[in-house]
Symmetry: C2
Subunit: 444 residues, 2 copies
Amino acid sequence: MTKKVLMTLLEDKKFKSIHEVLSVYNPVDLAEVLSQLDAQDLALVYRMIEKEKAAEVFAYMDNDQRQELLDTFTTEEVTYILDSMSADDAVDFLEDMPANVVTHLLEQVDGETRAAINQLLKYPEDSAGSIMTVEFIELKAGMTVRQALDKIRTVGIDSETVYTCYVVDRHKLTGIVTAKDLMLSADDTKIADIMTDKFLSVRTTDDQEFVANQFRKYGLIAIPVLDSEGCIVGIVTFDDAIDVLTEETTEDMHRMAALTGENEESYLKTSVFQHAKSRIIWLMILMFSATITGSIITRYENAFAAVPLLVSFIPMLMDTGGNCGSQSSTLVIRGLAVGELQFSDTLKVIWKEFRVAALVSVALAVANGVRIYLMYHSARMAVVIAASLVLTVVVAKLVGCLLPIAAKKCRLDPAIMASPLITTIVDTCSIVIYFRIATVVFAI
Amino acid sequence: MTKKVLMTLLEDKKFKSIHEVLSVYNPVDLAEVLSQLDAQDLALVYRMIEKEKAAEVFAYMDNDQRQELLDTFTTEEVTYILDSMSADDAVDFLEDMPANVVTHLLEQVDGETRAAINQLLKYPEDSAGSIMTVEFIELKAGMTVRQALDKIRTVGIDSETVYTCYVVDRHKLTGIVTAKDLMLSADDTKIADIMTDKFLSVRTTDDQEFVANQFRKYGLIAIPVLDSEGCIVGIVTFDDAIDVLTEETTEDMHRMAALTGENEESYLKTSVFQHAKSRIIWLMILMFSATITGSIITRYENAFAAVPLLVSFIPMLMDTGGNCGSQSSTLVIRGLAVGELQFSDTLKVIWKEFRVAALVSVALAVANGVRIYLMYHSARMAVVIAASLVLTVVVAKLVGCLLPIAAKKCRLDPAIMASPLITTIVDTCSIVIYFRIATVVFAI
């Protein structure tokens, strides 16, 4: 459904058709359609969505639009929406609202919702506690399957949270039961007989990236979240894990491209000023760092005054060094992120990069050496470039693989040790190597 | 469990303890432990894992080790393993084996398994058909809940595939029923009454990245895969979607760092020669492209002979241009990958990047202009650098945002239009801009 159809129907006041058209769409797609409307139309159309679905659509909209809608809502509407959202979605939404709005909203929801939301709001951002949902099925080992099913029916929560049920003894998690076990067992089977005590769990304080990686590694559908006493306080489901993986990957990619600021809004929703802010810091730092390379060049003024051709190979050396470094750092950063590489692999990585660098650099040096000899008929220049290339590539590969590992060891995000920073560091090295070799070979 | 403990137990022939220790671990972790053993110990320890679990562990091992184990297997063992693996795991495994081994293995499994595997092997790599599993629960609308549960019990397949059941009429998919609906409905309820006909689906030929993005967007647990006639032929489950997302992201990151070759092995498992091969192609291309920049510099020999200081700002200009370009290209590439940006947003992106470039470039130009004036007391040099920076940043941002969008439009992977290529292109522009401005200002 394009915006156009919707707008035409709206102009013609064909409200019944709009209602029917809207009922065909699923909540995710509806939120996308609504995102194209201005505040006034949005408020109008939103009210034509059936009530239950409207709450779900609200969860998928972006913050600007939610704020716009919120301004037009009655108290009853706000209460209904917040009560219908799952607690973790409500928290995501509230975290981006001004504090006074949050207080005001929380006053309007029922006690149980408020308690759940408040509990989640107190966990540090990006922790397992902040992404978990507090809605899960709690069973006792002594229950029968029939009692368990009755309990699920009464609680009546989202279907993605019932695929695994949690067997609890005085708040301590003692086992898990899958929906499959419940479906296929006789009604009078005891939960104790079908539960398994082999399960994975995470702590409320665990980093969300660690949690998401457990899903990646073990193919889980949900994982229980325990507090410091081993009591179950919530669960993280696979769909939240997918969101975290996407978010963390985007963050890594941004860091690897010298962007700061954890911006959860989409590219188009981010203001020009915000974009500029997230880019300027590293650009400044790297720009001033690059002047070090410049001042080294100045020291070799005599060299390129004597052999002006020397200057023309600077871009090629700098770029090749930067590219080699960023290849290595990207491989290592990604390897660390998905858990394929550990600190204990450092020596293996160095040895591998060294051999790769040897192979690659010789190939590059030969190709370029031959080209230069043929073009400029200068064996000396060919030797200078070939030798500089070999050394630059080796240094670049080693710097590129070592810095991310070192960052990880220092509990920094390895992703900041990516292309831009590596390039700047390798530039300096390659210029020093180049002019050192040149001054010797040309005896300047 | 460290390798050490295992090796000690093995030396002391404490097989019973090993068996007990192994039974504590889950298959994923066991595969990790086994990966540290050599071929002989591996064959020995693997046989101490209980039979059913052993098949699962096999699915999580890497290809080298599977090949090692395979060599020691009896025909019965091979048959058992292949029959126990889900068809899509078996296909993943077979795709990496030599053709004669595949033929030999397929002769040994039962007819049903062979048919399932053969069906999957015929879909193009990276298509929905190649990642789907053919094991799913097929129901009829006329069945009762009790009959449905009986069917699930008889089929007895992996639990991640029973959370959604598929209602089929002459192979056409007519509706879906969730495990929750089955659990909570009375035994004599008709499936037709609890099924929903609103469901998402994909085609066998759809790209795996598209399929995975459906999971990301809609938070699905599984999605049915239909053939060209609308008949259901398999399903993709969330755990496979997470694997695809990880694989596609890694591929994007590698492409963005000028690495070629779709290597599914981990960093450490990839041979030095393979590593070198995947790096050399782009390094060669980019190295020779960078010589264009070099030859442009040669043309301005007079300029830096007259003002040698000019050379020392080359690295700073090149790096800043490269960094600006890679910031923009990364934002756009990621935006396109997660579906946040479309081709239709091109004008909005250009306008946004232009304004960001204006803000950022002025800040950089002022900072550097002032520094140069204070350090070298040359107003002319300050003006040349400031003006070059502004133009370079604007060009870099525009090239950086446009090339990935253009690649997408030409059905190329936008990820190749990343930092390395953008840097090389922007280098040339920045050098031309710089020397043009310098020759005018210094009247060389």
